[in-house]
């Protein structure tokens, strides 16, 4: 009803302004603030846009370097003399620390380090991990490369949590979705640039250096770590600006607000467990596939390495503009489960096209990109519909934790399946994973429908329900 909406609107506006205690005569009295230029005044939009720029580039380095192995797959396989299952260990080692850190990230930021120090520490881990990774290649020591990926993993996901916390702290309110969308697009931009540029850098280095392959690889990865150093500088600048804003506006340090209580796990409903299964079953058929995609396109479709890398990055390129658009669509229409059903079915279709036909793979990969974005927009908000607010932190932490566990295990499995049985069998395996997600989606719909649940409401129905519950 109109009343409820207006009331909520007012509340929102109140929350979006930073809290300013107006104790007369104190140092923090707003009246005693020196007049500043617009760009240096933390409460103005211009300054916040500057902060937004730094916030977006904070995650750029981490996403750029995450997919370095996929971009340089043939080079790594050749120079380090690996088979595919050892190559996929590079992805598995990134995921292993995050099985546990997903629970600890919020705690570390809120209680132990604080957002500013925490961001800098995680950026250091990202930087250090990438440098160790590159050093391992320079010295031809694969175990060092795996260790580097492990250190990189410790920093990578937690840095994403820190980035989100900064966003909430600076942009709470109506701008938040836009900021999240921008951050995601920057992340995808980082992945895309990585896919398309690293191979070119490698070939230029190879022209300059006449040394054996692993040296060229190491130098290329070191150049890649420059993006991480850039992100570290952004983290330091953000910390400085945040501390300055706190001093000037007397704003509190941002907190994740997550409360993780592992005992809440036993209260998770069947719908939530089905959502977890969908998450695991779906993402293990996307990320390891992209990791192994380059050689697949070279061998099966006779693409050149540059073309293969380009088509591998199309999922990220599409997801950058598609995520906000599809998010808007899902928000307006509701019916999340139906959108998830479309997404999973089209991913299954894409994998079957790649497995059983020689049709132009651009079609299948574009379909994969759209459905990947659609699923992300429909799946993650559903957790909030199923779980009470005080358990939300635990639920998201658990979801990311088993997602990382699944990715770690399936990355290794995918590598060894490829080595022993080839690409067709690998694609059939991915089809089976997506089919598991599909079964879970159908069951989620049925469970929800039979229990009279509210997961698949249209947006208007959900809005009405919200008003009713607010009025009560």
């Amino acid at each position: 009803m109109a009343d409820g909406e207006e009331r909520r609107g007012l509340l929102d506006e109140d929350e979006s302004e930073p809290a300013i205690p107006s104790l007369p005569g104190s140092r923090h009295d707003p009246a005693s603030r020196r007049p500043m230029s617009a760009i240096t005044d933390p409460s103005t939009l211009l300054h916040r846009i500057v902060v937004l720029v730094f916030m977006c580039f904070l995650g750029f380095g981490s996403y750029f370097c995450y997919d370095n192995p996929a971009a340089l797959q043939t080079q790594i396989l050749q120079d380090m003399q690996l088979n595919t299952s050892k190559f996929m260990q590079l992805y598995a080692w990134y995921s292993w620390p995050n099985v546990i850190l997903c629970f600890l990230g919020g705690f570390l930021i809120d209680r132990v380090f604080g957002i500013r120090l925490g961001t800098v520490i995680f950026s250091l881990f990202v930087c250090g991990g990438q440098v160790i990774f590159a050093t391992g290649a320079l010295l031809n020591m694969f175990w060092l490369m795996e260790f580097g990926r492990f250190v990189f993993g410790i920093g990578g996901e937690s840095l994403a949590v820190a980035q989100n916390t900064y966003a909430v702290s600076w942009f709470k309110g109506k701008e938040l979705n836009l900021v999240f969308g921008l951050q995601l697009s920057m992340a995808r931009l980082g992945s895309t640039v990585n896919m398309n540029i690293m191979g070119w850098i490698y070939s230029r280095i190879q022209g300059l250096v006449g040394f054996p392959g692993y040296t060229t690889l190491g130098i290329t990865l070191m150049i890649g770590s420059a993006t991480c150093i850039f992100s570290l500088i952004c983290a330091l600048i953000l910390g400085f600006l945040d501390k300055r804003a706190e001093r000037i506006l007397n704003k509190e340090q941002g907190k994740t607000g997550e409360v993780i209580k592992l005992t809440d796990v036993k209260d998770f409903s069947l719908s939530l467990w089905l959502i977890f299964i969908i998450c695991v079953g779906y993402y293990v058929a996307v990320f390891p596939f992209i990791g192994l995609g380059q050689v697949f396109f070279i061998e099966k479709f006779n693409f050149s390495p540059g073309e293969a890398r380009a088509i591998n990055s199309i999922v990220y390129i599409i997801s950058a503009p598609a995520s906000p658009v599809l998010g808007f669509l899902v928000d307006r229409t509701g019916k999340n489960i139906i959108w998830m059903l479309f997404a999973v079915l089209s991913t299954l279709a894409a994998h079957m096209m790649l497995a059983f036909t020689f049709w132009n793979p651009w079609i299948a990969m574009s379909l994969l990109g759209v459905s990947y974005s659609l699923l992300a927009c429909a799946l993650w908000p559903m957790v909030a519909f199923v779980v009470p607010e005080h358990q939300l932190g635990t639920a998201y932490g658990f979801m990311q934790s088993i997602q990382n566990l699944g990715l770690a295990l399936i990355s290794i499995a995918a590598g060894s399946i490829l080595d022993s049985s080839g690409y067709l069998f690998l694609e059939v395996f991915f089809c089976a994973c997506v089919s598991l997600a599909l079964i879970a989606v159908v069951m989620l719909y049925l469970v929800d429908f039979l229990r009279g649940g509210e997961l698949n409401l249209s947006a208007s129905a959900r809005g009405k329900l919200q008003k009713i519950s607010d009025a009560e």
Partner: protein, 415 residues
Amino acid sequence: TMAAARLCAVLLPLCASVAAVRGLFRGGTGDYRRQVSMELNPGANGSVGLDLLHVRAVGPGDTLHWVLGSQGPPALLLVHTDSPNSSLTVDWPRLLSRNSSGSLKVEPQSSVRYASALLFRRIWEYDDTNDTADPTHAPPSSFLPPYELDQFSWDDLNRTLNRSSLSAQLCGRPSSSSSASADTFQNGSLCLEFSAFDSWGRSSAWPRLLHSANTSQLRVLIKGVAVRSNHSRLVLELAAVVPRDQPSRVDTLHSIDDEYSPTIFQVCQWVTLSPGSSSAALGFSQWKPVGYRSEKLLTEFATPARHSAPEPRPAPARPSLARAFFGEQLGEGYQVSGLNLTFGIAGEPFYNSTQYLSWTVLVGVGSPPWDSFSVLVLSIMAVALGTPALLLLLGGVCVCVKRKGRAPPQYEPIN
């Protein structure tokens, strides 16, 4: 008879569908079996200085004669007759003389439907200092003197003959009388592993070609050769004896199934077509364009094998198995057509890294066998697609039933 006709009309489609399903699993080669027998040096008295392996595969209405011999360039001879009682006769004195033509005969001669031979002539070695793996554009100076396979001395075939597994291995190295390339083969050898088959199946070593009773398989193994430079790559020169008037060509076909030869999505077939038809094949050689640099079944050891277009080549000069069988026909009704197989691609390790190279070829009559999905793949896809479909169907029914059963709401909420 009416009842019999009706019974046939019912049973035939049933049998056809059963056969089709079985054919789907067995790559269309059917359940054809043959009786296979092997004999070494048929009709010879005592040791004759060279080995001749004769394999006779008898089917219900025809016979396949395989002859593996090392006189001249090692060759595999295939003769297809339409009589289950045909036999091979060898005129040993004539075979061992200078003019051996006509010393190998398949009796009765009128029953011979198709004959061909696959010869292994030379192994070329070139110094790939620029690492391009492209011998067609390599300077002539980078080519080292080739290993002439007709100047090799071969080990005793009797020691490697295995009648239970229907296989034999012909191994050799340059004889002392050949050119200066003899010392590189000190501890190494070129081996031709021959396997005959009595029914369909798949070997265990990659690329695991599907074989049937109409085929036999040859595996070329170049092992332990101390090549003459650190950047050496090898090229295998093959030749086939094909009918002069019937067209033959090498096709490279795409296959979506790489289960048995991971990352290889192509099949090469050198087919001799039957006259007047562009699709029915009389005989073939089939291979996957890949060689392997190690015995271990790992994809990192796969090396691409590219073939050149077949061109007419001169017939082997010295006494050879091909000349022994085809005799004067070798210049008239039949011609020798050769191609080069290049192993390796730019950036790959050279032969010296593992000192091992293997390549497999399947030779047979009729149309080449075509791979199909394994039972495991088909069953996974059936379950992966069937279960959600079933769930969707059941769920849809459930939802419809529930929707119909729900009483329409009597009261609308006031606010």
